[in-house]
């Protein structure tokens, strides 16, 4: 029997597989397809203080081995998330969930985390300082070490739950941002968010996405993500949640060897609604193939 358990910031996961925010809603729609309690955890749809419609459509474009999205943090706002979405999630998911939070000012991050802090069923906060699809917030906090540290520190003051800062790859040096988050009191970092990209329609001669740019995800970004997890692992002492193009059990192992304690599966949930389930069920086979008894043992094994 192989052991797929890992511990993320003091909370044990049955396996390291976590559907990524923005690709799994609030979980309950996937619960119609399978028992989502098999997941390690899930990171729910990015929540902001106020309701957000998001960007105009088209918000999606296909790419080779991936996709662009510019959804723009559509969500019903923290009050309705607490009143309507989380009870539906709790009805189908009995494990601690990861609350993904975005904001347009330090105060918004703080107030959203404060509101969610007392909601039942939340194990970690994943603070998104890396959304490339909104203006005047989101990624701007994640591209400068000082701002990243400021947000981390501010959120740190209002919750005792573990906080994991979700980092942008759209920076010259992701390591310096990760170190700033650690200095600000983060319990972990998750990476990578999407890479900013664009596609142009040859018939209309205009960008496919109305927002012009979108975030690239899918297998196309996996080597970039593995490289960044590897680099951040060498520089920080806090756990890393790795993500970027994961679609197989082998990908999970690759990210863990690079230094991830847990992983998130994103775009692949969208092309195969059963993706996270299949990866989890396939993990023991892949572990046996590569003679891994316990996943914990391989974290950072490539260093």
């Amino acid at each position: 029997m192989v052991n797929t358990k890992v511990s993320l910031c003091g909370i044990e996961l049955d396996n390291p597989v976590i559907p990524a925010s923005g690709t799994f809603g609030f979980g309950y729609e996937f619960a119609e397809l399978y028992d989502i309690n098999i997941l390690g955890s899930l990171s729910f749809k990015g929540t902001t203080l106020e309701p957000r419609f998001g960007n105009p459509t088209p918000r999606i474009a296909e790419t080779h081995s991936g996709m662009l999205n510019a959804v723009g943090l559509q969500n019903p706002g923290v009050e309705r998330v607490i009143a309507e979405e989380l009870p539906k999630l709790r009805a189908v998911f009995s494990k601690p969930a990861m609350a993904n939070v975005s904001g347009f000012s330090v105060e918004e991050y703080v107030r959203t985390v404060e509101r969610l802090d007392t909601a039942p069923g939340i194990g970690w906060f994943e603070i998104n300082i890396s959304c490339p699809n909104v203006h005047g917030g989101g990624m701007s906090f994640g591209t400068d070490p000082k701002s990243a540290e400021t947000v981390t520190r501010a959120v740190r003051e209002v919750t005792k739950k573990p906080i994991i800062i979700k980092l942008s790859p759209n920076v010259t040096d992701i390591v310096s941002i990760a170190k700033a988050c650690e200095a600000g009191g983060a319990d972990g970092v998750s990476l990578i968010n999407t890479l900013m990209g664009m596609r142009i329609d040859l018939k209309s001669r205009k960008p496919v996405i109305k927002n012009k740019t979108g975030g690239l995800s899918g297998p196309a970004i996996k080597p970039v993500a593995v490289r960044m997890v590897y680099q951040v692992f060498e520089a920080v002492g806090i756990p890393i949640v790795g993500m970027g193009g994961i679609s197989t059990a082998e990908d999970v192992i690759e990210f863990m060897l690079a230094g991830a304690t847990a992983v998130e599966v994103g775009a692949h949930n969208l092309v195969d609604p059963f993706a996270s389930k299949k990866i989890i069920e396939d993990l023991p086979r892949a572990m046996e193939k590569y003679r891994i008894n316990s996943l914990t043992e391989i974290i950072g094994g490539a260093h």
């Binding site: 923005g22 690709t23 799994f24 809603g25 729609e29 996937f30 119609e32 397809l33 749809k45 419609f53 998001g54 459509t57 088209p58 918000r59 999606i60 474009a61 296909e62 790419t63 080779h64 081995s65 991936g66 996709m67 999205n69 959804v71 559509q74 496919v208 899918g218 297998p219 775009a267 949930n269 969208l270 092309v271 195969d272 609604p273 059963f274």
Partner: protein
């Protein structure tokens, strides 16, 4: 919603740039006309959402227009190939409010979902009128199939090479109807919205990521709140639409 393998039984060009696929597989999750399926193609990351034209036994018929790389690939595929298809997507048309004389209005690639709707309505004993709009006579398809169901069929073409010259709305004066169902390009839907006096249901198209409500890629605003075209739609009722 089911994700199962279908076998392609036939692929034929039924009008200019327009192909009909008949597939064999588990169609049990397709419960209403106006729903769609999402097809995985080798070499493409996202699936192709295509509306259901007909289901009969274990056979699924879809009709698509070649508009890009994905549909070009589909047009080149041969009988016998296997495809992973996510079925039972979208709300589909609600046939309950149709009244005795429903009208179906399809434009171009919006014609196919009208077929299953017409068949169901005819099976329920309704007197069904159909307006099919195309650009030109070489694009016309399914006229005879609708007639074989016993529908009154009017064809319009923009260039006047077949049927009434003009748009689907130019044929509205020739039919009496109690309710309508429509699918087609957005300018057509808008024109139908403005030219019709009864209530009706509109099927919308949007670029989708997942096709089942997870990614929020296809959200639109309605009078009844934000809706995902893929899951809360693609069919919206006239009263809720915001243009």
């Amino acid at each position: 919603m089911k994700d199962t393998y279908f076998t392609l039984l036939s692929n034929k060009e039924i009008a200019k740039n327009t192909y009909e696929w008949v597939l064999e597989g588990d169609v049990s999750d397709i419960t209403a006309p106006g729903q769609f399926v999402n097809i995985k193609l080798d070499g493409f990351y996202l699936r192709r959402p295509i509306s259901v034209a007909d289901i009969e036994g274990d056979k699924l018929t879809i009709v698509y227009k070649v508009v890009g790389e994905g549909t070009e690939k589909m047009a080149s595929m041969k009988a016998g190939e296997e495809l992973l298809v996510l079925t039972g997507l979208g709300n589909g048309y609600d046939l309950a409010p149709s009244g005795d004389m429903p009208l179906l209005i399809g434009g171009g690639a919006g014609v196919p979902p009208m077929y299953l709707a017409a068949r169901r309505l005819r099976e329920a004993g309704k007197s069904v009128s159909v307006i099919l709009g195309f650009g030109s006579s070489d694009e016309v398809f399914y006229k005879e199939r609708f007639e074989a169901l016993g529908c009154k069929v009017l064809v319009t073409t923009v260039d006047g090479t077949s049927g009434i010259k003009g748009f689907v709305t130019d044929a509205l004066g020739d039919v009496d109807y109690t309710y309508f169902y429509t699918c087609g390009p957005e300018p057509m839907l808008r024109a139908v919205y403005n030219a019709t006096e009864t209530s009706g249901q509109f099927s919308f198209e949007e670029r989708m990521g997942c096709g089942f409500g997870a990614c929020m890629g296809c959200t639109c605003k309605t009078k009844y709140g934000n809706k995902r075209i893929c899951r809360d739609g693609p069919v919206l009722v006239k009263e809720e639409i915001i243009w």
